[in-house]
């Protein structure tokens, strides 16, 4: 009985390793996908609403919906049509987030991206 328990205990190591490797691999894949290849910056003349739209689909649509109507998969984000706040405020919310409601995107999107996102949000009304 004691020997049997000992054998079963020794089988714990592969079990713990399998569990840790599986979750670790998932985490690693997410990190790789988040980092991705370093894009070559293109010369820009001003904020691009078109690029902002692509960024929106990538980072915001999950909560705000593909159409920015607040019907994302996560369902938490509000409708962003006809925002009655200034560009600086929109940029600040994207960069710093809203406590308990929206995460900060400062690490993911730099000033140029935020300007593009703001430009895109200005086009929807």
């Amino acid at each position: 009985m004691a020997m049997n328990a000992s054998i079963q205990s020794r089988r714990l190591l592969p079990a713990v390793l399998a569990a840790a490797c599986s979750v670790g691999a998932a985490f690693g894949l997410c990190r790789m996908a988040a980092t991705g290849p370093v894009p070559i910056p293109e010369p820009q003349t001003g904020p691009s609403a078109e690029h902002g739209r692509r960024l929106f689909v990538q980072s915001c649509a999950h909560c705000h919906g593909d159409d920015a109507r607040g019907s994302g998969e996560d369902g938490d984000g509000p409708d962003l049509f006809g925002l009655r706040i200034g560009n600086a405020r929109i940029a600040a919310v994207i960069s710093t987030g809203i406590p308990e409601e929206m995460p900060s995107f400062a690490k993911k999107h730099g000033a140029a991206d935020v300007a593009d996102l703001t430009a895109y949000l200005r086009t929807i009304r």
Binding site: L12, A18, A26, C30, Q58, D74, D76
Partner: protein
Amino acid sequence: MTIDPTTWSKLHGATTHFPIALMLVSAFCDGASLACGKADWQRALRSTATVTVVLGALGSYAAVATGLIVAKWQFWGHGTLLHHHQFVWPAFALMVGLATWRAAARFSPSRKPPIAYLILMVFAAALMSGAGYWGGELLNHG
């Protein structure tokens, strides 16, 4: 060739129910084997529990892969997705770990599984149910 964005969501829905159902069935079979008095029934229930937990663990990789694609590779996310993941990751780790333990230790169907295994299995089934609940919330409010 482009893939319809909803395809991954449908695939996640299709793959995710197998590990949930198989883990719950496995936990139920182990529980029923404790309550059942007939030795041949106990063996049958424990063998079923072994097969279902191993198949469920294998199936959970497909569910996790499609889920990560749907979630745009967010390991945690936020809001409802975060709640979903707070249950998914421990449930996934426990399911893979328990299935590996059960397969590696070759629990005899004529003996009771270790009490630690049974406790962790109940815990994993509860976590899996929570993951399923928050997954449903994502679907309903998405």
